[in-house]
Symmetry: D3
Subunit: 316 residues, 6 copies
């Protein structure tokens, strides 16, 4: 684990820690000698780097997309911080902790998984229960489900975001059958838990968050459909109607075709999954906008929400 994060770097204090390099350019000084500029990052932010002297080794070993041990000191260029690098070389793999470089959920993943198992326990229909356990008894799937983000940007764009998003939705859904007697609790809860499983195949998150090729060519909605369909097929006697309804929830959870759902919700449980998905995503966007704008009455403009957000005075 790192000791010096980008957002804590102070001018003048010597720097010596591991950073991820996202850009590296070789330039030429007036006198013709080469120098290097970098972008360095960890999970707390980015900082520009510059290296003036003894750059030959650096030129040969530093490539963007890798982890490096960096020594230097923080200065300022055109009003923005800049790290003047004196030494840089590839980091020892055993010193690299992915959690240092990717933002992660603030919630405890084990607790959230255990809460999720609690919701699974409440599902009484034996086929749906079997379907859920076929996912959550599969160690490989669970490892991905626990780590996956829920997006590349916009909301829950951090490790564990998918799990957090799913658990929040399950909490909201938990009371729904008590309010609406027509809601089938087992179907709703199964839909909640499985609606976004395709996101385990939509993103890569080794060092930066990005889409997989399948993520862009197929998308998490249809990837998830395929994953659920495969497991249903392996459960003997899984009723056709139930299968069709669970798959429909996965396909329709974006609510409208222009948002990528090939079908709109056609029964009440699908409708509710769509609403809770949308609500939890937007609440998270509001929250993240506020976190990024701590000392104002209005956040900056939120592209996706098409508005600025109002920050209320601290209540008494």
């Amino acid at each position: 684990m790192k000791r010096q994060y980008v957002k804590d770097l102070k001018p003048g204090v010597p720097v010596d820690d591991i950073f991820f390099v996202t850009r590296r350019d070789i330039k030429e000084r007036r006198d013709g000698a080469p120098f290097l500029t970098f972008d360095l990052m960890d999970r707390t932010g980015n900082v520009a780097g510059i290296m003036w002297d003894r750059v030959e080794d650096a030129i040969s070993c530093v490539e963007p997309g890798g982890f490096f041990r960096v020594q230097g000191k923080l200065g300022n260029y055109q009003g923005r911080p800049q790290l003047t690098v004196t030494v840089i070389y590839p980091a020892d793999p055993k010193d690299i902790d992915r959690d240092d470089f990717l933002r992660a959920t603030k919630h405890d993943r084990e607790e959230m998984m255990s809460e999720l198992h609690g919701y699974i326990e409440t599902v009484k229909d034996r086929h749906l229960k079997k379907l859920l356990t076929s996912f959550f008894d599969d160690r490989e799937f669970v490892d991905q489900f626990i780590m996956a983000p829920a997006a590349v940007q916009v909301h829950h764009a951090y490790l564990g975001g998918l799990l957090e998003h799913t658990v929040m939705m399950a909490r909201l859904a938990d009371k729904m059958p008590a309010v609406y007697s027509e809601v089938n609790r087992d179907l709703l809860m199964t839909g909640i838990i499985l609606h976004d499983v395709g996101k385990t195949g939509e993103y890569v998150y080794e060092s930066v968050l990005d889409h997989t090729y399948d993520g862009r060519l197929v998308g998490h909605i249809v990837i998830g459909y395929g994953m659920v369909r495969d497991r249903i097929k392996r459960i003997p006697g899984f009723p056709d109607e139930l299968s069709r309804m669970v798959l429909h929830i996965v396909l329709s959870h974006h609510g409208q075709m222009e948002f990528g759902s090939p079908k709109t919700p056609k029964f009440v449980e699908a409708l509710i999954v769509h609403f809770l998905d949308n609500l939890d995503a937007r609440v998270a966007m509001f929250r993240e906008a506020l976190e990024k704008n701590p000392d104002t009455k209005w956040t900056d403009y939120q592209q996706f929400l098409e508005t600025n957000i109002y920050v209320r005075d601290k209540p008494d």
Copy 2:
């Protein structure tokens, strides 16, 4: 209270009860003699009526838009039921029960009001509490709030619909602050309870549901804004920011400008009120569509929802 409702009329059985007349036409037989046709309704539906003989009195006394005592017998014309009327005259006002002619909520209004008072009790902020009680201690307002529909068609289009819609939303909102710690419970609950108070001025529901002139020229969102603003002004020391936020929730609860909200939600409680309003309305539309299509796998096409709704087999 009526004994013979439209939907229970049987061919051949003599009819003698009160109906509301929505149309009345005078026509001419081949032999030149006049006859009458009507549309008759009560809260369970419509039926066509026809009157062949001794129509002089009927011609002079029967006007559309009134309640009439009707005697006759059910037949059939071009495959649809038709009531052959022998006697028709104005109903005695004391025999007319509005609940016979307008659909009403299936829930007990007193119980719902009492549940609503429970939610008001939980509001701790004294200005918000005062604002709520200024509404719900006002007998005249409460009488309207208890009877008003939530719409003329589409959803909750029946007496008590507004109250039912508000209580359902309060139930859903009740657990939200436990899931999202950033939510201010008092503000959310106040927003839920007041968001639609303008509907008491948007509809008339004496005999049929319709919009008031103000309903169509101003609309329930701005009517409600005016009502809440008036009462806030009468509460000394009501904080400006709180006032602005409560009013914003009322104005923004349709979520998007093209749905009649002059502002979109700009903080999380306004966002949640909008979502729960929308969710409860849609769940009600799904429910009402299923009730009207009891014996099919698919309901007829739902204009507003832009889909047919799937009816699942009865679960085991």
Copy 3:
């Protein structure tokens, strides 16, 4: 095979043939005696039916949704033809030919299948060739593919419509690689042939055209995705990239998300499949509009196309 089709029925000529009953109502005469009205159809159109006498047997045996032997004579009611039925009873199953009741392509299905096999032959990539033959060597699939319509209404809404639509697109695609050198012929042709295979699971067409439950809850795009994905999985060594691209073509062939494609085309072969799909569908709509409006300069308004269509004078 029938001898008397609805569109050829003449007033006065005795009728005796098999028809499909889509509606049946029991009504009451002035004198209280029951009579029956029907809607009768075959692939050439609909006609109303009425039965006045000896209706007891008919009442007990005639249900909508079945095939019946009908005897009677054509008359006229309110300016529209009406068949006065004297005898009606269930048709002998062995006398029923589905082609009499559902419209069918005017092209020879065997010839079209053989043309399609010709296009499959031209595919050189061995994995794509295996994928195509896994479909077209499967007798059960081919039986459905040959019979399926391409739509319930709008275009190619008749037996064999899917095959006809696919062959037309293949003809158009055949010359594309010669015009655009960047186009991979094998991938394009595979995409054309497989893009709509999901329609074999989207429609039922035993007696009338309709959607299956899966058709409405999942849709042919995702059904087709599942079918192609299953077969690809069974082909050892099928390259990941090729798999992803073929599946993407299936998913993106509607071109835009609001038309039900969860992804828009992301490479040139997917783009072309989308364009040819759209073009062939629209050319068919123009053609069908002209066929229904033989003697005018303008067809009636075409809802889907949002226009009337101009009919040019016969060229010299």
Copy 4:
């Protein structure tokens, strides 16, 4: 009043005048010494500032959002003008003239107010006359109405813009009743004059133009509705219908819900107010675009108008 405006600054001439500071950053030189950069503005434009020497006092006293006395000389940095500041300290409040820092209408405000009073004189209906005079005999309101801008950007975004916009619309409306006999002149003129009064509460314009909190959470349409409603309530015997119609004009003047009007125009005077509002705003946008692009045949792209504007040659 200032003597040196931003747009008139010349390289080499000593600068000594008051400017408004919108940004101030502390940076570090290569040798570690701090220096300052600013953004300085007055009503004619912005200029970057830089201060290299004796910055200690400036660091402690210069905050963005204030008026400062600035001495220095204009140079050039990366092709853009830059003011090298030698002295800067808070301006004496009595030397600050808001009109130096905010753009203002080119028309004489007193003349425009007097023209507006002329239009009010022509209103014959005594209730409408009373309503108008209740606004325009109220000194506090008039002071705001005379100063308020009509927008923060896009059109009439300067002091007195609201008054100018209102008078222009009144001129256009003045002849309407002569063209369309069905137009009620009193109602139209009242609608014109009051439609935008809410803008007095939508903007702040002490030093820069911005929205108030109410402006963003409620908006000028509903703020204006509240203002007009309050004054109507205080006029005894104001007819219900007239009230409803005036309020509807205020609410509907943006013409479409997606532009923030909760209701669309429902009678002809409301329609005309909407059209003239829109027309005058767009004519002003065209005019302002031309003023900003004096020497071209095409203005730069106008975001809001979604076009470039053609500049005709000077007519003979």
Copy 5:
């Protein structure tokens, strides 16, 4: 000129006048004898007709799309008026007056033309004046311009509608240059007068209003462009810039591409022509809606305007 118009027909009074036949069907009585039904119209409305006896001659001579002398008596069928015809034969052409069968402007055409000539007189630019007189000195063009409707439905859909619409716009435009000094009066007035000349080629109005083939395939905007361009070419020395601007006004007067203008307005005169065109059309729609709904507080729903229109009480 007719003496008996459809809307004045009374039950029982003998009818004997000329009507236009838009439909004619031959039907069969229970006893096999043929009878005829028609739709008859004049400029005041439609009425159904029925002919029971001696129909042989009528069958051979009555075709839809012609004018006929009709004798009979008004009765009633299913609550709607029906003319029982006893005699019908082709009308003598010299007895047919087109004004009896097509609605016409209520304004005096000669007066309107003379007002229009007044506006032409005010144009000072000699090229624009020449362009206008080249149209309005051309008798053939003027004859069409005086008679043409401004639409087939929606607004000004009557003979002389184009002239009326143009004159109303010219009245509105007349004062614009006094309000906006940047407006070139000559260009604006020329644009107003010519913007819709293409409508003389878009409609036929011999007996019913309809589109020409060119009207549907090319449209009045581009037809008008062609007409103005042809005449400009014949004026020696017509300046290029002026030509381009006049033609642009014609092309852009629908304001947005989705309404059929291939270009949006790019200078202020084009903008104003678009606004006045739109305003006058909508005022006319409001007016026509009110005329069709004389005794209500709300008109029926206006498809094009997407609203019902409020009818105010008669003012004191």
Copy 6:
């Protein structure tokens, strides 16, 4: 013809060739001496230029929008290449070759013209043939048609782009009549060849690509309509229907009104021209995106296409 193109410039190698100057700024050094910065371009790209010494002559003779002989050497500023200029003066006109400065089609123009003549040969209808030859026997038109681009950006934005686009579409169209028997080959081919002739008047392309005034005020669709209409008028006996149909194809080829077509396609040949126009433009956009992104799996985001494009691995 040039010997040193922008994209081939190497650091350190002396530069001496002709470039087009698009920007020139005079700046001031710290010591008050002026220096110059430029943007220099040829058809292969842009490069920034800077000139420090002996700039007096350069200041007086260098204007943006002209061709200049430039001598200097390539360096680097802030990580981007920069040409340090020592000598610059106006280029001798006879040394300037437009093809050096504007991108051009990679195909041989003569071959393409000859292929196009081949398609014209196949047109059998003598009026259409005459129309086509009236264009393509006109040397002045052909000179423009051969050089014109098909767009300013987006697709085929290079000299000869219009010709290339037209020929590609003709190739695609060539086989259509064999697939769809209802297609009139002569009309389709004429429509293809003439649909974009207006582009010869929409663009200037002397030194940079830009729109003409007519291009922006009228647009190529209506310019082309005028050109075709003029030539049709000069052909005696050209049938009205044929004229109307050819002109409709030109007007409707953008397919939808919001894309600038005043009419949507109303017969099958117009539909096909629209589709092929759209398809060829998009295939070109895909191709150009790939060319600009040679070494990635995904191109950068394509604004117009609203997607990134997937780059497949090189097939075996």
